[in-house]
């Protein structure tokens, strides 16, 4: 392994894409699972805090250390095996998502999870249950994890496959590789039915592998991952539609969403079967207009959708065309990708909005305040306007976009000064509360990390947080791993 102790060498590990930063003594870069065991055992004995680091693309401070040491998995970046018949791939945690996607696509297979930032480590996408645009059709990372190897803080290894260990009601049991049993109680809070990345996955009779997916580096270090792949779609129909009225764009999404869910379930010809339904409000388009002069001047909102095509090309295009016409979308000025190159440009367009917002607030010496809330579909349009009104009532700069097919909103507030930053935080908190009121989630995909713990408390209540802490202590008696992620350290001391 490589150990970095010089402070100027480890600065890069002390923050993430949220600009939140911390400190630590040293960074350990293991080459193998054996080295992870060695590090964890030693830290377990000395009660040294360990923070696991991905590639620093997170938005909630999850990888940001608060003392102790870091284990960064960047050197464990090998593809271990690939099975084209079984359609699986086994990798080390430090493989970059984009590299994995390119690799499997070159073999005509497909790994659907696609968080907007594709430079993340695959291990981190599992630890945070990352999702993205295609989650609308394909679900989050969780749905593709077949098998995990996890080193827990005392150095034991848990090798777990899907369907191998199932909880009995709320009683969980795992058998470590050394034969020892690990028994624990699964928290009994009810998770929202929306897309969700808030707190441990907990459910009656759950598959125990799901506990580790989305556990944000608090239960163990993932050392190996086996993922399920699917066939590579032969071609993709990708389109950015512009609307002159925002409400038309929203209603278009609602209908396309319902069609996609119902048509694909009931009808094998699958008329509307979007992979993703992404929304951009007028402010987002205004921010992008500087870089994209092709955006129609009169557009008040846009929707980007993608759908796989087989031989029913004409049928699918006609279906979308009539849907676009029904909501007065601009068929003559909307953008249509005719090849992979254009598709990538549309993806870039989506990515650009997030990076542009970051550039603006960073120039102002501030941080953006961005929601990651999702609500049940039936509340979606009402909830969207509620969020928007809250921000507009205070005359704050904002841009609203996101995975609206999943009723999942990234409302980004761009404060101009410290006063506005604090005001934005207050509005953010109100929006989280409103989402919870509607049985939604405070974080649909970014996770809790160290920045959203208070909102998780709002969502599940203190007794549930204590149950999570109790569960963590079963795996981490000496309170060393990922301390401060998901819940505050104090909950480990009750």
């Amino acid at each position: 392994m490589i150990i970095k102790t010089n402070q100027d060498e480890i600065q890069n590990y002390l923050s993430d894409a949220s600009n939140f930063s911390g400190n630590c003594r040293s960074v350990y870069l293991p080459f193998s699972e054996l080295e992870i065991i060695e590090i964890l055992k030693s830290c377990h004995q000395t009660k040294t805090k360990v923070t696991i680091s991905g590639n620093g693309t997170g938005l909630n401070g999850g990888r940001v250390p608060q003392g102790g040491i870091i284990i960064s998995l960047e050197l464990m970046n090998k593809i271990i095996s690939f099975d084209s018949t079984a359609k699986t791939i086994t990798v080390q945690p430090g493989v970059i998502l984009k590299d994995l996607q390119d690799y499997v696509e070159s073999k005509k297979l497909f790994y659907p999870p696609d968080p907007t930032e594709s430079n993340c480590f695959i291990g981190a996408t599992v630890a945070t249950n990352a999702s993205g645009t295609r989650t609308f059709k394909y679900g989050p990372s969780r749905d593709y994890v077949e098998e995990l190897r996890i080193v827990i803080p005392d150095g034991r290894i848990i090798n777990i496959s899907r369907n191998q260990f199932t909880a009995k009601n709320f009683n969980g049991k795992l058998i470590a590789e050394d034969g020892s049993e690990i028994n624990f109680t699964i928290p009994n809070y009810k998770m929202p039915k929306t897309k969700n990345a808030s707190g441990y996955f907990c459910a009656e009779n759950m598959d125990m592998i799901d506990l580790f997916i989305g556990s944000e580096g608090t239960l163990g270090v993932i050392s190996e991952i086996k993922l399920k792949l699917i066939d590579l779609p032969s071609s993709i129909f990708s389109c950015i539609v512009f609307f002159n009225e925002e409400i038309n764009a929203l209603n278009f999404i609602v209908e396309a969403r319902d069609h996609s869910k119902n048509d694909s379930a009931e009808n094998s010809s699958k008329k509307c079967d979007a992979q993703g339904l992404e929304f951009f409000d007028f402010n987002s388009l205004k921010l992008l207009a500087e870089k994209y002069s092709q955006i129609p001047a009169e557009a008040k909102a846009a929707v980007w959708f993608e759908q796989e095509l087989s031989n029913n090309y004409d049928f699918i295009i006609d279906t979308w065309m009539s849907l676009i016409n029904r909501y007065n979308g601009q068929t003559d000025k909307s953008w249509f990708a005719v090849n992979k190159n254009d598709q990538d440009k549309f993806k870039e367009f989506r990515h650009k909005i997030a990076t542009t917002v970051n550039e603006i607030v960073t120039k102002r010496g501030l941080k953006k305040v961005g929601t990651d809330v999702a609500v049940p579909d039936k509340f979606f349009v009402e909830f969207y306007y509620l969020c928007k009104n809250k921000v507009e009532n205070h005359n704050l700069d904002y841009a609203a976009y996101g995975h609206f097919g999943n009723s999942h909103i990234h409302l980004n507030i761009l404060p101009k000064n410290l006063y506005e930053y604090e005001l934005s935080q207050k509005i953010y908190s109100e929006i989280c509360f409103e989402a919870v009121e509607r049985n939604g989630t405070i974080s649909a995909e970014h996770g809790i990390g160290k920045l959203k713990r208070n909102y998780l408390l709002t969502m599940y209540g203190e007794s549930s947080i204590k149950q999570m802490a109790a569960l963590k202590l079963v795996f981490d008696q000496n309170k060393i791993l990922g301390i401060g992620n998901i819940f505050e350290e104090k909950y480990l001391n009750y």
Binding site: K4, S106, Q294, D314, I317, T331, W335, N341
Partner: protein, 248 residues
């Protein structure tokens, strides 16, 4: 006015290019082809000119069946008609220019847009040759284009600035990045493009004056050198940059 735009079908710039076993052509395995990026500016300028002054637009491409994909894209962007000058043979730049000039003449087009070069073989010559063969005026590497009746005022990009050129129709314009932001195909355009027929004209054997006799890959990049991982390595790095690499 009939506006022509000549488009080429080239390997995606992100594609990894290998040389095929004959040693003088590209191995197409796994290589994606796209519209030559500079030709997208040509298509956009043709469309903008048509929108302003009316007329008819036609896209012309020389190559095999696969070039139809590029012509389809031009149609989807809004070009009215497309012609494929079909051949499986190798055409050198002059042969390409001769075939294009003949077609432009047949189409009776007085304003022709080309990308300033194709990113596959980078000869940067076909537009100019075609203009000469047609006896048209030619302005190359254009970043601003204005048409007033039959007069053209165009800004050309030159080292460190721009040259403003005036000329008359008929003319060939070769387009440079910065001239415009090419539009994406619209849904309406796609629907319309699907209904259009690409006219095919089979070409006779070319009379080439140059022949590609081999292709070579650049020498592999030398591996990098890690001098150290912390600030103690800086003096050595500075020394090497100064004495070995001679860049500071």
């Amino acid at each position: 006015m009939k506006i022509a735009v000549c488009v080429n079908h080239v390997p995606d710039t992100a594609a990894k290019i290998n040389i095929s076993s004959d040693g003088k052509s590209i191995d197409n395995t796994g290589v994606t082809y796209v519209v030559n990026p500079y030709d997208e500016f040509a298509i956009e300028e043709a469309l903008k000119t048509k929108e302003k002054f009316g007329g008819d637009t036609i896209a012309i491409s020389l190559g095999n069946e696969s070039n139809k994909e590029t012509l389809r894209k031009a149609l989807a962007m809004g070009i009215d008609n497309a012609v494929l000058l079909k051949t499986e043979e190798y055409y050198d730049s002059l042969s390409v220019a001769k075939a294009l000039a003949a077609e432009i003449k047949a189409q009776n087009s007085g304003l022709v847009f080309f990308g300033k070069q194709s990113v596959d073989f980078d000869n940067s010559i076909v537009g100019q040759l075609t203009a000469e063969l047609l006896n048209y005026n030619c302005v190359s590497v254009v970043v601003e284009f204005e048409l007033k009746e039959n007069k053209i005022i165009a800004d050309r990009e030159i080292e460190g600035g721009k040259e403003v050129v005036e000329t008359l129709l008929p003319a060939v314009i070769t387009t440079q990045k910065g001239l415009n932001d090419p539009r994406y195909a619209s849904l309406k355009g796609i629907m319309a493009a699907k209904k259009k027929v690409i006219e095919e004209k089979t070409l006779a054997k070319p009379n080439n004056f140059t022949e590609v006799i081999g292709m070579k890959k650049p020498a592999p990049k030398q591996p990098g050198k890690i001098i150290g991982t912390d600030s103690s390595a800086v003096p050595e790095l500075v020394r090497l940059l100064r004495e070995e690499a001679k860049v500071i």
